[in-house]
């Protein structure tokens, strides 16, 4: 009995230690900051596109007017400031402010404030635009929510640049934080839930088993952005893509954690979502899912990769400024 009690105590203590390690080990902000830039750009683009037909989607005579949108959400706890805006002028004014906030989030200006505002705005727009939403909006809202939790503007941001300038040109390296880790962990866990149920729901369909599902996806004219019907000559390719998709999605939540399988799972994510972006007309959704997958990139890897990219980018520029032959000839006095 005592040994059973002892084993239970050890097990509980291991679980608590594992929980603490997973959620509360401080992590550096590079991955989260990279996601801020990419997700910020996607949020800005998404809201910019609403501008193309703003009044038709949000105005008083829109596809679904504010009052109808509220009624559609009846009985739910959804909320939106846009339910109460009727005037096109006010609508445009607030929309311009929204675009500025999204741009500020992307470049990392006042990011602690703009990340919270971006999250509230994104969710508010989604609750108002019920009926015109799809997967992109779900991923946008997810990323905006978690960006608000961590220090997403700690690096690669105007905030950092301003702090450095204020400090006279040198600034201590960014600190690893617990909330930064929690933000990244939440994105990771949320991605796992998305894929798990994406896979399970496909497993209930016949076409993912008989290997024809990818054919019916790529031959859907309304989705199609590149004609892939030549695949009809290669049924084994269609079947392979169907089976790989459903297994990859279902087992993503298990295989993305071990170091050995993570690169394969992430490479498949890039291929599947790249395919959706290029061939199924949902470039924004495909890219948003790839941004979500970036949460699995270690911060040190992101830091090194971006440092090397910046170095390469700067090399030709500095060579250009120092190569004598490229210099302007000295003017004679």
């Amino acid at each position: 009995m005592n040994s059973l009690l002892q084993a239970s105590k050890e097990w509980t203590s291991d679980v608590v230690a594992g929980w603490n390690k997973f959620w509360f080990t401080p992590s550096e902000p590079h991955t989260l900051s990279l996601i801020r830039i990419l997700a910020g750009a996607m949020l800005l683009y998404t809201h910019l596109v609403w501008s193309n037909d703003l009044i038709a989607f949000l105005g008083p005579d829109s596809w679904i007017p504010g009052e109808a949108a509220r009624e559609l959400q009846q009985g739910s706890y959804a909320w939106s400031h846009l339910w109460y805006i009727g005037s096109p002028g006010v609508l445009w004014a607030q929309h311009i402010v929204v675009l500025i906030i999204m741009a500020m989030l992307m470049v990392g200006l006042f990011s602690r404030v703009t990340s919270v505002l971006a999250c509230l705005i994104t969710i508010s727009y989604c609750h108002r635009l019920e009926g015109a939403l799809f997967g992109l909006d779900q991923v946008n809202a997810m990323l905006a929510t978690y960006l608000m939790i961590g220090p997403s503007g700690a690096v690669y941001s105007v905030d950092r640049w301003l702090a450095k300038r204020k400090a006279g040109g040198s600034l201590a390296p960014p600190v690893a934080t617990t909330n930064g880790n929690i933000a990244i962990r939440l994105i990771q866990v949320h991605m796992c839930v998305i894929y798990l149920f994406g896979g399970i729901s496909k497993m209930r369909g016949e076409m993912w088993w008989d290997g024809t599902a990818v054919w019916y996806a790529v031959s859907n004219l309304e989705y199609q952005s590149l004609d892939m019907t030549w695949l009809v000559r290669y049924p084994w390719v269609i079947a392979t893509l169907s089976h790989v998709t459903v297994f990859w999605e279902t087992f993503y939540c298990f295989l993305v954690w071990p170091r050995a399988t993570r690169p394969i799972v992430l490479a498949l994510a890039a291929c599947v979502h790249g395919g959706i972006a290029l061939f199924l007309g949902m470039i924004t959704f495909g890219v948003a899912m790839i941004i979500g997958n970036a949460a699995f990139l270690p911060s040190s890897w992101v830091e090194n990769a971006l440092a090397s990219l910046i170095k390469r980018w700067n090399a030709p520029l500095s060579a250009e400024t120092t190569t004598p032959s490229r210099r302007l000839p000295k003017q004679s006095v």
């Binding site: 596109v49 679904i64 729901s201 019916y216």
Partner: protein, 220 residues
């Protein structure tokens, strides 16, 4: 590599704070998990009772944080597409016009086209027949659900009509749901049928009658 600050303790968040944050994290993860779970945990016998209890408890948070999603992309099977054709009539002598959305020639960029596509897809997904279906007449709970769903469908339908009437300053707009059925491998590979072949489009009736077509597709 830059020098790192290594002075932070292993878990800087201590005591009650860590417990409070842990409880919130558990609640949040369950809130992410429940909506797609409930979508799968339902069948002809209803929905999972335990799932309903958890879902109803967390519903305020799930709704507030926009977490109520099923994540069933192209599932359980890819399905046919749905469009909406509008016939727009005028009282001032202008000839009636017809437009269909989504329309790649009209809506740009692609994301805006997709928004219009979702309007027509989701209207169709919400369709309920105008008469209470025979099979649920003895089930008050299901009958009530039908009534709510039908009211929501009519609300959207009316909103679309009013939008187009206002946009075109028209006197009357007639909407028709159009289904573009899926084309199978044989039709494209052997018969060289184009994806936009006229016989792959057909109008859906509002009275709930579903025509028999040679479609292999299943609505997701």
């Amino acid at each position: 590599m830059t020098a790192r600050k290594t002075s932070c303790p292993e878990f800087p968040l201590h005591g009650y704070w860590r417990i409070a944050v842990s409880l919130f994290l558990i609640l949040h993860v369950v809130a992410i998990f429940m909506p797609p779970f409930m979508l799968q945990a339902s069948g002809s016998g209803g929905t999972s009772p335990i799932g309903e209890v958890v879902m109803n408890t967390l519903r305020p948070y799930i709704d507030f944080a926009f977490l109520n999603h099923g994540y069933a992309f192209f599932a359980p099977n890819p399905g046919p597409s749905h469009l909406i054709r509008a016939r727009i009539e005028f009282e001032d002598g202008r000839e009636p016009i017809e437009e269909t959305f989504p329309d790649l020639d009209e809506q740009w960029p692609r994301l805006l086209y997709h928004r219009h596509f979702m309007l027509s897809e989701q209207l169709n997904a919400q369709y309920q027949p105008p008469q209470l279906p025979l099979e649920i007449r003895q089930e008050p709970e299901l009958a009530e659900r039908w009534q709510t769903a039908r009211r929501m469908y009519e609300l959207k339908w009316r909103s679309f009509k009013q939008h187009l009437e206002a946009k075109h300053e028209a006197s009357h707009v007639t909407l028709t749901r159009v289904q573009h059925r899926m084309i199978d491998v044989f039709e494209v590979g052997e018969q060289n049928k184009p994806l936009d072949a006229p016989d792959t489009f057909y109008d859906l009736r509002e009275d709930g009658f579903v025509p028999q077509v040679e479609s292999t597709g299943v609505t997701p």
